[in-house]
Symmetry: C2
């Protein structure tokens, strides 16, 4: 069964909220397939029928979960807009307050569900804005295609999040751990990132070669040697 809430003390959330939160936690910890109506119901301490009463169907439940997670993240981002541009896309998500929501996102990210897609679009729009601001203030280099660059950076960030199990196995860093930001093991992951984003990967000579190759677009199946 999916793990129930931690405490035995009173829970002032409505049953509807408990069901939603239980579903998020269950998806985060055990995946979509394991998240059944009955397991969610027992995790929330209610009967299976009530899940249907409040959300209509299991798909309705998941849509509600998507929207709740998206809304929570959006609320945080708009509230934290004053503390400077958060160029770190996932640094904002690596907040302990989100609890299992990051792991939930990691599970749902590869399905192109509307609520998640909208959230991603928003994150990218934000990132594009922050990147432009970084260019203005001289922190970041300009790009030929600012939007595409924002998309690529976002895909890399979110992609690494989806593959967090592998990252944990390979580097010992768990991006879904709510306390990962205060843990210093994450530097194993951050250092090469700063290396690449700072100095780049290609040497100057090779970079100009690659630039020329991609400029001569079209069929470049044999020419493209860059990492993709």
């Amino acid at each position: 069964m999916c793990s129930a809430r931690s405490s035995s003390s009173s829970d002032d959330r409505t049953a509807k909220a408990r069901i939603r939160d239980g579903a998020i936690e269950c998806v985060a910890n055990h995946g979509l397939a394991e998240t059944t109506a009955r397991k969610v119901a027992t995790a929330a301490g209610v009967s299976p029928g009530l899940v249907m009463h409040h959300f209509g169907s299991m798909e309705g439940l998941l849509v509600a979960c998507d929207e709740h997670v998206a809304a929570t993240i959006r609320d945080y981002k708009s509230a934290a807009v004053d503390q400077g541009p958060g160029l770190d896309l996932l640094g904002a998500l690596r907040q302990s307050q989100f609890g299992p929501m990051v792991a939930y996102l990691a599970r749902r990210l590869h399905d192109d569900t509307p609520a998640v897609a909208n959230l991603i679009d928003d994150l990218i729009a934000d990132a594009e804005g922050y990147l432009a601001l970084g260019v203005e203030t001289g922190m970041l280099k300009p790009s030929d295609d600012p939007r595409a660059r924002a998309v690529v950076l976002a895909m890399w960030s979110l992609g690494a999040l989806v593959l967090h199990r592998h990252l944990e196995r390979l580097l010992g860093v768990d991006l879904t751990d709510p306390n990962v930001s205060v843990d210093s093991t994450i530097t194993t992951y951050l250092k090469p990132i700063y290396e690449i984003l700072g100095e780049g990967l290609f040497t100057e000579e090779f970079a100009s070669q690659a630039r020329a190759a991609v400029a001569a677009a079209g069929q470049d199946a044999d020419i493209t040697k860059g990492q993709s």
Copy 2:
């Protein structure tokens, strides 16, 4: 039902191979949840019982699929070792011969299943070797932690593959399309990558700031502003 093989002509594969291939195609096109014993059986033109006869269980089938995909990719990589170091991790995968296997991988990548984990480990070992070779030949800049850099680059590549639906929506590039290499739309995706890997993202001043910040490791929750 999952799409059956294209042709009506004779199929000289054994029933066991047809079942395995049908399962791979079904997972690639419709996902794990939709890949049931009966659907796979009808796609392969056999009875449900034969699936169990050959693979013992559905989990056994998926393990066999994992291993077959991994073996196919490994075979390709060892056969293509002569045509120069394939720094492009996924460029090798973007070969039309793999058919639905890339899409299959994209579906399975976020589960830490043994066969896939081993494949990833191999891909990273290869990448690390190719990166080292690139450093030797003066194409790539050296790294403080070559293995971690290889891991990060691999996670970015594979992560983007997992998120291919979003990439398609955002940039119009489908990484799971077997013919994506010959299509020029992929340059929309490759150009910002070459930008970042070539010139970097940070300006020199900011790069040294970031380097200093991450050097003073520990609690850097407020300091880290780099993309992650």
